[in-house]
């Protein structure tokens, strides 16, 4: 069953080379997909368009069968109304490279505030969910701490918990380990691996090729705004078909 799809996505910026040229991706329930590619390839723009932080020039977006954006007769993207988009935003979560936690909220409040004040869920239920997420993320001791008191790895775990507390159908990660020291990278990769084991649907933009190979079902290699190659993770990394993919992967094999 399809959880998310982006169809024929195009996006150009006035003053940036970062573009998307006719990209289509479909993600099924429980699938873990890694997106790799050189910087400036458009993979971050793709993720920002998928999470509605950036608008497409042309193309369509679907979340769990609901239409978030479609083309008008001129082939330009139009978006659903504000109310509809708010509903759709409950269907996905995004984990940022620099965490973007709310510094004035405690760990617990970072996790519980949106479920309470955006989704208007029951307080008892939200608290239970938050407690179990903190437990899972090894943050139980840190419930009352503020983000500045935490290590980068802990902050990223809070931001994953914050996204999961919304009960999303799909979780997007934008280079979740790029802002972390190597020794902290491991703890985030372990968390993502554990989520994969629970069949959480995830799309991960990453530079960690080995990790992508181990945890992803499928890898998509993007360069210059187009999908150059995609396929089962192991096959794509060990036996790339395209010359550009080979060149890119060679940079990681020292």
């Amino acid at each position: 069953m399809e959880i998310f799809s982006i169809r024929s996505a195009r996006k150009t910026f006035d003053n940036s080379l970062d573009v998307l040229q006719d990209i289509s991706i479909s993600i099924s329930r429980g699938e873990v997909v890694a997106i790799i590619g050189p910087s400036g390839s458009g993979k971050s723009t793709l993720l920002r368009c998928a999470t509605l932080l950036e608008t497409l020039d042309s193309g369509e977006l679907y979340f769990s069968g609901e239409r978030a954006a479609w083309n008008n007769e001129n082939g330009e993207t139009v978006y659903a109304g504000a109310q509809k988009l708010r509903e759709i935003k409950s269907k996905f979560g995004l984990v940022f490279q620099n965490f973007n936690l709310f510094p004035h909220y405690s760990v617990l409040k970072n996790i519980t505030d949106a479920p309470l004040s955006v989704q208007k869920r029951e307080k008892d239920e939200v608290m239970r969910t938050a407690r179990s997420l903190m437990d899972k993320m090894g943050l139980t001791e840190k419930a009352d701490a503020y983000p500045f008191q935490l290590s980068g790895g802990q902050q990223q775990r809070v931001s994953i918990a914050r996204a999961l507390a919304m009960n999303p159908d799909i979780l997007f990660f934008d280079e979740p380990t790029s802002a972390l020291d190597p020794e902290l990278t491991g703890e985030i990769l372990r968390v993502i691996r554990a989520l994969a084991a629970e069949h959480m649907t995830m799309v991960i933009v990453t530079h960690e090729i080995e990790f992508a190979r181990n945890v992803a079902d499928r890898i998509i290699f993007i360069a210059d705004g187009v999908i150059v190659e995609e396929g089962p993770a192991e096959a794509l990394v060990s036996n790339p078909q395209n010359e550009r993919t080979r060149t890119f992967l060679n940079h990681f094999q020292r």
Binding site: L53, F96, N100, H104, S117, V118, M166
Partner: protein, 216 residues
Amino acid sequence: MRFSVMLSKLGEGMVTSVLIFTLTLLFSLPLGLIVALARMSKNGLLRSFTRIYISVMRGTPLMLQLLVVYFGPYYLLGIPLSSGYRFWAVIIAFSVNYAAYFAEIYRGGIESMPAGQYEAARVLGYSETQIFLKIILPQVIKRIIPSITNEVITLIKDTSLAFSIAVTEMFTVAKAIASSEKTMVSYAAAGVFYYVFNFIVAFVMETIEKKLNYYR
């Protein structure tokens, strides 16, 4: 005049000074936020209008603005001056002037907020109003408190400008006593009053700043 009588007269003037101070803050702090939002609005007309407003308020003396607000209704519209209007002319002129300064402080604070805070909140589905009130504004307040403290302290001293339209605040009283009693003592006493007032306000602001230090 006995020293104690002088002090009690100055004290009465001080009540007016404190009232001017309090009412000006009460009106100019929220007004400044509205002006700041207009200054950053998508509407070009609104933006230009507030830019000119801020430029005029910061580019002309407060005393001049006070005189315009007080005498303007009479000279421009022929409305007779009432003595009750004196005090409110001070409040209007001060509030409008300080709102311009506060607006620029708010704007600086709002523009210093990292885009990631907006993005994280948008992805979580917060409405734009919720984002501003729950996520952005509390952090902006923490960032701008030191600049606000500066303005607030200047305001205490600016209350003495009400003297120029004969509102009997503390400085007006001090000057009246000085000329009738041929003494400098009333000025010295007024100076002490202003200093103590400032000291208290600075202490309060510092306490607020410390209270907000629970996060970084």
